[in-house]
Symmetry: C2
Subunit: 336 residues, 2 copies
Amino acid sequence: MSENTDPPRLLVLGGDPDAPGDVPPPDLDRLAGRARVRYVDEKSLADSLPTADALLVWDFASDAVRHAWPGPGPRPGWVHTASAGVDRLLACPELVASDTVITNARGIFDQPIAEYTAGLVLALAKDFHGSWELQRQRRWRHRETVRISGTHAIVVGSGPIGRAIGRTLLALGVEVELVGRRERDDDPEFEKVHAADSLHDLLPTADWVVCAAPLTPRTAGMFDAAAFSRMRRGARFVNVGRGAHVVQEDLVRALLSRHLGGAALDVFADEPLPADSPLWDVPGLLVSPHMSGDTVGWRDDLARQFRENFDRWAAGEPLLNVVDKQLGYVPDRSAR
Amino acid sequence: MSENTDPPRLLVLGGDPDAPGDVPPPDLDRLAGRARVRYVDEKSLADSLPTADALLVWDFASDAVRHAWPGPGPRPGWVHTASAGVDRLLACPELVASDTVITNARGIFDQPIAEYTAGLVLALAKDFHGSWELQRQRRWRHRETVRISGTHAIVVGSGPIGRAIGRTLLALGVEVELVGRRERDDDPEFEKVHAADSLHDLLPTADWVVCAAPLTPRTAGMFDAAAFSRMRRGARFVNVGRGAHVVQEDLVRALLSRHLGGAALDVFADEPLPADSPLWDVPGLLVSPHMSGDTVGWRDDLARQFRENFDRWAAGEPLLNVVDKQLGYVPDRSAR
């Protein structure tokens, strides 16, 4: 809808500098003169969509796009989300069916999430949680812990986040099997990538199962009672993907029955996790508030990445990190 | 004192199979017929020493040897301790001055302690402790955490434990400087090893300072107010060496003043840490009960290592892991 002589209209969902509590995208003023930037919130999004050329979903935890997108009038031709997962956007069939190009924050979170996951694996292996609980009670109680070198991990998700996790665990001496959508045996780093279909055959071999998959109709609920029962007694589960990958009640049961030796969740079906959720105090379950990828400077990195794509878009060049709306993620070039 | 035809007399301090609470050395009965094994406790050690050919210090946390060693009569010619540190034995001048050979458990704890330390570094970087405190309160509070890749660590201790720690942190993308007794620039893995003399010059560069040194008169108290003040504001300290490396009050002050961003201690001047110690609840201080090296199977590994040395000793072959009683540790062949 931009006139030939006017700069394009960029809508930014969230991050309004004038809204208390919002954290604006750093250095967005660098687009001054090249974009007409307008901040919107969940309420004003719907009215603004028909006049926008592009939409930056800065508040990536919002479901507003899904609700606002269907409706009369034109829609932006490009939507960029400041997140790796695009499940909230793809939950809108009208957006999926449209010609609108979706790009994401692929790459920004890989190393941070890999570190966080390795930290959780080590924390579970070394029972840090138990030590700090004993510290609160001023009790000295020596225990034997698990050596992770030589143990076996299955990482579900063969995109850049899953690969970074796999690489980091490998560096710690853990044997790693990567699971992706389809099997391939020419992976440059991991040699073989297993097909999701074979997950249940693999699960009994694992000391650690890590979920770092994109959330799609194929992967939703994949960690259910059947999956947990395939896991070895005492094995541990870590989810840094999306809450909906896990059937939460099934995980709770697997922990309460002591079939699983422990679990750590950074993501939940409902976020923020309500104060009355039973998940807060399941024995053996570590809860953190969806922060595995958010290291100091992450917002700068996200804004820089968006500006780079904006420059390409304004110049008519191909965008980076274009999501395959059927697959539900940015296809890995190296996997093609 | 053994007769020519009788098997040698082996004294074992701690681990008496008939003593409640003691954990015996696994598979020591494999020495049947080749050693006359006698278990002693702290009280009976002194009386038994003159008639023993060798002493296995299985209860390595005991100070009994230091107290029992001085006295009349012969002494065992070989003492093996099931620990990496030999500071408790070398605290006995009569043992140091004697011809008795001391060997230790070099090698057993390297990888476990390296994993534990990497876990502590990640736990501090990702504020796991804060997340679990919030979990107890059923509060969802997102925070930004530290990316450890690209940060800078100083590991004090260039023996096998310090090297394993350094190697593991390097694998996580951390830049590592190793500090040993003397400088060398031909290290096969780390290129340069810095001299302990230059520690204060290095400290301001570190995000992480890890103590994994042997406890000797040179290293005792090396982490004092002067050292902590040289550290960068917000930097973190981890001790998996010995409690006496640290002037505990100085560390507490550096934490209370928020000069340090956090610390983790697995070792203490007084162990077990008394219930009334102020260290249990210093903000930012993580306490664990001297267990960094003790992964499942560690006692089997320790016993196997002792039996291997026993075979050598019985055959008159050179022992493995002979401690340099002047240096206070087993000199690293690769560092010679």
